[in-house]
Symmetry: C2
Subunit: 197 residues, 2 copies
DNA sequence: CTATTTCTAGACGTGACGTCTCGAATGAGA
DNA sequence: TCTCATTCGAGACGTCACGTCTAGAAATAG
């Protein structure tokens, strides 16, 4: 789904092959790690030709980005729940649940790493993943602002930088994931209850 | 300085060659980018043999990690300045200044990316860079706690995750660096003034 | 039936990898 | 002064994934 337009003539793209390639990429990443993941290996495991992979995805990272959307549930709830704190809590729990999904953390690590090496992929990663997640949280903050439910001085962009910064830093630099205490601490902080009991 | 022990006999390690290699690696990274940085290229630019590089550093990322310490001023002030807010401000300004140093951002990006690919290097990166920076900020928070100068519910570890999360997320996922407004916002947040004017 | 596109399969030249060998230079201990 | 361990620059070597390419079969719309 990354390359090309759909022509009206000729053989149609095989959905079965597409799924086989995405699954092979996802599984191989958990088995051998992203650095040892090769296009040739993906094609071999999927029973596909190399050219088929190269035709539809520019890099192995792009394959993995699409595989992530296939394997993990990337939906984020942005339903109006009445209060900023409640919606923030929901958002943080959803994010923690995503990270707990098997194979997601190594894949996210690999994608962010690849985004540092390849500027073109960085933009695709931003458009296809990062900004979507940001948009969800920013919606929550902006709705709180409209309700008058939001701490002063807290812009949507800054809140997103803080929350995603915390999540990504945990994934990339430490080995710990978000737990219940972290969620509580973030809620307390963004609600402005950090100074008193 | 990463490999080997110092024997008592034989020719001594050439400090001049060591500096030439570190300088070549740093400059080449800014010129061609980390992915196109090769050990062979480093050796060639430094006028050194490949074996000389391989003898002292296990990967090109380790060369760059040491080059960073050589090129940029990694000192962090942790002097007691009387108040949490003042020391936090100093820390944030020092961090912003480091990022503004020529070539530092691309190098940091590359090191964090490599840390995701190579678990062994990740530990060296943590020990040689990440935890040192964390320790400085944690000292500031703990000193504030001892003074009774610190917001309740703010642990040193969580504060570090938040601040470094913000900084790294900005570097890795967006293109923006910390500016004065960001520093103000972080100080306001961590001091517990986010809810009122 | 024809034109077009996708499919699997694999050959091809390229380039960096990490190891190895070579002979010269260096320097501490005998 | 001699000896010998160690580092030095230089580069040869086989290996492996890269991305491109060709070939021929299969599928599909006009």
């Amino acid at each position: 789904m990354t390359g090309a337009t759909t022509p009206t003539r000729g053989r149609k793209r095989s959905e079965q092959t597409r799924l086989a390639i995405l699954t092979a990429a996802y599984e191989l990443t958990t088995e051998v790690g992203f650095p040892d993941l090769t296009i040739e290996g993906i094609a071999a495991r999927a029973g596909a030709g190399k050219q088929t992979v190269y035709r539809w995805w520019p890099t192995k990272a792009d394959v993995l980005l699409e595989a992530l959307a296939l394997k993990a549930d990337l939906k984020v709830s942005i339903a109006d729940q009445g209060s900023f704190d409640t919606e923030l809590d929901t958002f943080l729990r959803d994010s923690a649940a995503l990270m707990a999904f098997p194979g997601v953390v190594p894949v996210l690590r690999s994608l962010m790493a690849e985004a540092q090496r390849d500027a073109d992929f960085r933009h695709r990663f931003q458009d296809g993943f990062l900004t979507k997640r940001r948009a969800a949280l920013e919606t929550v903050v902006e709705r709180a602002a409209a309700r008058g439910d939001k701490p002063a001085h807290l812009t949507a962009a800054f809140a997103a930088d803080l929350v995603f910064g915390l999540i990504w830093y945990r994934v990339l630099a430490t080995e710990r994931l978000l737990d219940q205490d972290d969620i509580t601490a973030v809620r307390r902080l963004l609600n402005g209850h950090s100074g008193e009991e």
